[in-house]
Symmetry: C2
Subunit: 333 residues, 2 copies
């Protein structure tokens, strides 16, 4: 093993979410979320010098893994209770979709200057959209006020027990579907924004494959999680300037951080140019459309491929919701 | 059923390829070709008013179903014998890949003015490329002369028993993977160039799901197969002007035609604009890159969706090998 199996240590007793929670979420999600395929390419393997197993969450319902956490989080609420979320991205659509399926009212708080397509997509899943002014108003306050008025639950994008457990089911499926006697995955690369997917992945790995090293990958401009782990406490940064719009978080979560710490997450960061190159490669070789944030994991592996020569490496392609004109512009570059 | 189950009639005894041949090819291809995933989208279903099951052969090895027929055809040759093929498209790369895997020399005859990327991709799979002048030379003659010189076998792109049987395995897998008690597929839409995939699909359907109506879809500018079936004999046309470069055949095959006739293929044609719209929709909704020819099946279903309201309909997305700059231009258009 290139890295010591740091995840093989016994789990700390005080974790806010446990491997058993991920298994419970997986049981619930059967038939409700897609069991997305694992994509492979012998040309990619030859290029990187290792066996690469790509979990295609861009082919997930509504185009991203976020629907896993949203479905599981909302399933924990009293029947019929409305929900409120603030997000201009995949979490908004995930909560909208989950709410519709569970017969709940959903209100999503979005910046007034968010791309019109995003608001439309969210409305398309049946949610109401409330606009706010990014410069003068706080989305958290608006969401909380709305929730108080409506008797609704605020569903945060990552810092929530069931969101974390739900996101972990993507890695769980990847580990199950690639299991081979005597050859566990040596590493697993995962995009990292607020750390929900990464924390869930660490828990899934603890459950099924404790020898697998988990690497979270951030945009270089927004490496707050790596810096927080190095500092031993959450670090807050300015909104990072990156095309990885799903990883523009300013601060790791209060629930995700102790999980990342306790389970020995390793962080790595990549520049936007690497995301564009990865997006292009995935379109050419794998025929698959992945949004910039979704390319973080594979870009991270590419950056340190030498380290994994001859190994079996999993990667989560977390989502595919990129505006087609932007995609065309980036890949045609 | 909107259509009478025309495939349910007993099979004519004299078919050049049989359902059993498709089953034999499928057995051989296990572990050699990808068992590609079946993609679905609830938004697409809602748009078309039926349950759509997309067999993603764009995710097949080397990016198209053609590798199925090539692997199976070459497996029928004496060990070590070299092969010759003429093609500027997916068949060239498929034969190159199959030859490399079986330790054979492969020579591919390509027009001198073919896109450089195509020749490079074919060389990338280990084949030698021989260029010819499209205006003054006959590729068939050059291929035959090369084959005579080398003691090689010419592998035609569609008019070959084992090519037809191999291509039929894509539909076979789709039928197996979507089987549901009491709810067979009502229809199956398949791109049609020379008729190899279509003939193989009809045989697979005859084996597993004789009540399923099979529809071959051609580009409107190159509807030679539909016209041939209407005329009762193969019709030759000029090279059709269409972006569906994998379906620019001038004449149906001598082996494929009687199979299409005997098994009651229905043909339909769509304009290039419908292929572009389908390509865009597949990128946005399904996050998947499909070449223009690969969009024929779904464009055909879209054109007659009203007819299949409430039904279960399969579609083969036959390949994803489109130049990325061209793809970006078409979908951004």
């Amino acid at each position: 093993m290139p890295d010591s199996p740091r995840n093989a240590a016994p789990l700390p007793a005080e974790l806010p979410v446990t491997p058993a929670d991920v298994l419970a979420a997986a049981e619930y999600l059967k038939g409700r979320a897609h069991r997305t395929p694992v994509l492979t390419s012998s040309l990619l393997d030859a290029e990187l010098g290792c066996e690469v197993l790509l979990k295609a969450e861009n082919l997930q319902r509504m185009g991203a893994f976020k629907v896993r956490g949203a479905l599981w989080a909302l399933a924990g609420l009293p029947a019929g209770d409305p929900v409120v979320a603030y997000s201009s991205g995949n979490h908004a659509q995930a909560v909208a979709l989950a709410a519709r399926e569970q017969g709940r009212r959903a209100v999503i708080v979005m910046p007034a200057d968010a791309p019109r397509a995003k608001a439309e997509a969210t409305r398309g899943y049946g949610a109401e959209v409330v606009a706010y002014d990014r410069r003068t108003e706080s989305r958290e306050e608006i969401a909380q006020r709305l929730a108080d008025d409506l008797g609704a639950h605020v569903i945060p994008p990552f810092d929530h027990e069931r969101i974390i457990a739900g996101q972990g089911t993507a890695a769980l499926e990847l580990l199950e579907d690639t299991a081979r006697e005597g050859a566990p995955l040596d590493a697993l690369f995962v995009p990292c924004g607020g750390g929900g997917l990464l924390a869930g992945t660490l828990l899934a790995v603890a459950a099924l494959s404790p020898g697998t090293t988990v690497i979270g990958v951030e945009p270089a401009a927004g490496d707050d999680v790596g810096r927080s782990l190095a500092a031993g406490a959450p670090v807050t940064i300015d909104v990072p300037d990156t095309i990885a719009d799903g990883a523009q978080t300013r601060r790791v979560g209060d629930l995700t951080f102790p999980i990342l710490q306790a389970l020995g997450a390793r962080l790595e960061s990549v520049p936007d140019a690497a995301l564009v190159a990865t997006m292009r490669m995935l379109a050419v070789r794998l025929k698959t459309v992945v949004e910039p944030t979704g390319c973080l994991g594979l870009a991270g592996l590419s950056a340190e491929a030498g380290r994994w020569r001859g190994r079996r490496v999993g990667v989560i392609l977390s989502g595919g919701n990129v505006d087609l004109a932007a995609f065309a512009r980036l890949v045609a570059g």
